[in-house]
Symmetry: D2
Subunit: 347 residues, 4 copies
């Protein structure tokens, strides 16, 4: 059994980790860390866990946790993991960091977009970007896995085959994303109140959202050159789900739908958690709710010479906790889908 601990267990992503790890056949959940609720019963913080967890929240002492755990999930604000990690900790436990601290390889880019000084840039190089579909071979040997962002996972998976196969002009990429409100976290903020979100839709973080450089970096690897793109997130009055609608010019006006289908199939047909729906199918977030799937479809517009590629996932599962578990499975040599075969809940 893998001994697992969570720092930040009482945020929404942390709560989802608990939900998944409680039913993971190879995991023993030994530490639910929470600065805000330290000393309280976890099932009193999340009453859905009544009878399922009798744990009491502990603090966020990663050093002590590393003594007890094989793997540590940090579902914490930006800066926490970078400020805490050490050679000593990494020699004792694997870290799967759900924050952005180790996602960007260029520390200057991190510091510019996050407006934080990075506390341990020395570990950036060894950290593996945990988008399992792209880094499946590198993850098993890592000490730190940088679990990707929710918008990022959806955006990259939706566009990767198109960029990789040279089917689109990477300088024309525009990503318009829509997210459920759990992505905004459990903080007590005016903008997250029910009455402010319900019956409302808005863009936010336009031109400045921190997931932008992460998407750009990964798609740059696919393109073999640096990419600059637009990413615009929107807040949707629903709990879970991200939909990405991505636009790009075809690299050649003669490209047909079949070529695009072939590209997606070549990359994704063997993926356990990507469901390519085909040309002309528009994914819906409800089709993946509660599951670890990413659904992808596209439309070709011959009038404008553009492709509209669409992807949907559950931001708390494939966009956070599910992907973290998938990374854990890879780290510990388990079948990648262990504990992750939840059927999407509908309605």
């Amino acid at each position: 059994m893998i001994k697992a601990g969570i720092i930040g267990a009482t945020g929404y992503a942390g709560g989802e980790l608990v939900r998944l790890l409680l039913r993971h056949p190879e995991v023993n959940l030994i530490w639910l860390g929470s600065r805000s609720y330290n000393g309280e019963r976890y099932a009193d913080v999340y009453r859905n866990m009544t009878t399922l967890s009798d744990s009491v929240c502990r603090d966020d002492n990663m050093k002590e946790l590393a003594e007890e755990a094989d793997v540590i999930f940090t579902a914490t604000p930006q800066g926490f993991c970078a400020g805490t990690v050490s050679e000593d900790i990494l020699n004792k436990a694997k870290i799967i960091d759900l924050s952005a601290d180790f996602r960007l390889k260029d520390v200057a880019v991190y510091e510019k977009w996050y407006k934080l000084q990075h506390a341990s840039p020395a570990f950036i190089k060894e950290a593996v970007y945990g988008l399992c579909e792209l880094k499946r071979k590198e993850i098993p040997g890592a000490r730190i896995v940088a679990n990707p962002g929710c918008y990022t996972t959806c955006s990259i998976l939706t566009l990767w085959p198109l960029v990789r196969e040279g089917l689109i002009d990477p300088d024309t990429i525009i990503i318009d994303a829509k997210s459920g409100t759990s992505g905004a976290g459990r903080g007590e903020k005016l903008a997250n109140l029910f009455c402010e979100v319900n019956e409302n839709v808005k863009a936010y973080g336009v031109t400045t959202h921190r997931h932008t450089p992460e998407i750009e970096e990964q798609l740059s690897y696919a393109a073999g050159r640096s990419i600059c793109l637009n990413f615009t997130p929107h807040l949707i009055p629903m709990n879970r789900g991200i939909l990405v609608t991505a636009y790009a010019d075809l690299s050649d006006a003669g490209i047909q739908g079949e070529e695009i289908v072939r590209a997606y199939r070549a990359h994704y047909d063997k993926e356990p958690f990507i469901r390519f729906l085909g040309e002309g199918v528009c994914p819906e977030t409800k089709w993946v709710e509660g599951s670890n799937y990413t659904d992808i479809g596209f439309c070709l517009d011959k009038r404008t010479g553009r492709v509209i590629a669409m992807g949907a996932l559950d931001n708390l599962v494939k966009g956070a906790a599910g992907q973290a578990v998938q990374n854990m499975n890879l780290l510990f040599g388990l079948p990648e889908n262990t504990g992750l075969e939840m059927v999407p809940v509908f309605p």
Copy 2:
């Protein structure tokens, strides 16, 4: 492996049965019956099932199905099961009927409330009312299990110990229930349109809702005499969940909270799917969403001499498909929680 078939697999309850049975370790799902979608791929009707089911919908021929299946779930409109069941079918397969056809022992009551003539009253007597917590011993030997209604399950479980232990005056019971909209089914009706339900709350079926006599019958068994009560359902702008708020006069003004706690604990402490939350705790539907749990709490009002007992469940799981699977487990001698250990999804 149990060979299972579903008639009415494309309604919401049928869809939930598919979700649960696909992950049930002892079930082979061999027949997805749907009059409306006969011949279509099930995953085209419910796109959440993409890659999870490659079945094509079949018709609702229960006779033919009985040749192939060990158990048949009928998630069909009132009257279908009663109009189709036969000695021949019952000799070949068990039936778990999610409609109301075999829930009421008195055919006259059925015909009055449902305004239907019962097509096979001869089978009513042998049918076992499938509220597992109450009929655990009778279910294994049954040929027909009458799976309880969603409102009914929640109402009965919430009140049973209080009635059984004589703590409340059964003539004063008032049940005010609130349900998510999936309880209204997948029919294309004006009243179920998003814009009619969203930002709205209303009572419906006041004094006439068909679940009323079912609640009365079961609680009458608890009381040892006939009970007549008020049941008022309300439609809530959410997908899933039922909350029951039940009011009753204490049978004796001196009754204390501890006595009520004791009654609940005595009846439910060993129940795998009932979580008694204690005095002063108000259950929330979100704490049980996606799971087979019923959460129960209560408050005592010394000023008025009444108890307010509250119960919450997911109407598609414990209120329909989950309970049906629980019944199947009992019918086939499996541990009652097999395939039913879903952790509630939050948020």
Copy 3:
């Protein structure tokens, strides 16, 4: 023109007052008080007011405001108005208090339910309870109008004719109420976050909600004797709207629906803001959204000898700001519906 000021203009009720008073033909809105946003442009706090208000928020100095205003609306937390009001202020301006400070005639009851010491009990006696339909004659001469609570208005109006005409046994009254989330205010609380409220329903304040004694006091006047009842509020995932479902035993088993219809008609047929829908009609909150109406209907249950009376209103309009404006109209001799003829918005 009436010069009006609002203390607490940036809460939801305060915001609704601004919406209504901006279009009131006889009002000049001179003061938008807000402790939290003092000095900020009101239209920056509520962007829906862009171009409609160029006011800057002022503080909550009621004394200074009384020098400038003819009427002061206090949409403030419990205790503020009682702690600030003075003979001097009342000699200069009328006060319409949207808090509970002057609603209850018995200061001991106030202090027990609100767990606050009342700072100016001397003014309680002269304050008029501003439920316009009941106190139409007393309001014009008042210096302080105690604007009723949202749950209270709906509960009292729904039950008043039945109690007054002796058609129900007042000792059996049970009120089960459902409210949109704006009733919980604009405070940054975990329980009010979108993800906590959406897809959820729960009871709260069971047996202890502070609107209980207010309902009891007013219905006691109708009954001519002291009444004790149950009031249970529920939080619904919608922005606006209150639905009250009230249960009571008929005072005589022989009472027919027509008698009840007659009672409602006798009391309400001339009321501009009450719409009696008749027997068998269940009001819906959406039918009154954005308007000052209260819709009322009922069902008679001959089986149990009970009546189920239902009322619906918009908690921010008739339940708060609209009723406050109605009171202002009465205070200043204007036609009662001035500025209040909003047609309900659907959908």
Copy 4:
């Protein structure tokens, strides 16, 4: 008083017309036409109209209606108005058509996108496109006003100044739109059921939505040449509201935010129903709910050389009924904002 009739009064746009015209000081609403509810009381179809309307629904006989009315609103499916209008009718009454029949000047484009044969192309030329802000001078003399679509109004108003002033490259325009569900109409369709829409977001009509050529035509006038663009609508789980997020390359990399601000101000500063919010402000649909406003803001992305322009309106008001009333005001020489000064409802 203007005698007004509505054909299609029981759809959502028709219902909103009734809401607005009932409070319009210069209108007498004489005919509520509804094929589906002919002979039923309007207030029984829309219970929010109880006591506000005692009309009985009439049929859709436009010829007869033209004898009685000064103006006819056709809130009907595509093809109805074109199939019914005649010289005779137009000589008797003005027509404001909320369908698309007379919006496109090129009948071939209409027939291609709507897959309908146009029944009266002879009237297309004289019809005036009723986007009041652009056609204010032509509308007063028109016999037929083609009231614009909801997506269209929002898209055109958001982009017009940028195209007109040559600030963006019109070949790079991508419009990603999000709409509340009332835009899908009141039809009893599976896709519009609460449980299908709630907790879900999806794109639809990708590359084929019928509002595309309407946007292209109008923006082509602004550009002085033919434009081809992408328009992608999305369905959002809310009742009302459209948000447009539009992307385009700057026509010159050196263009600064102030130039864009100047362009918007020059075009819109005197508009009664457009509120330009400035650079860096993201409009929200809730800020305009229930009102006739369109709110517009933008962000400039120097990294990518693109502008992201955003617009929000209420699809049933400025996107349908409100704009139709605005057109009526222009047709009959009334101040343009008569009956349209609703303050946005929040929350």
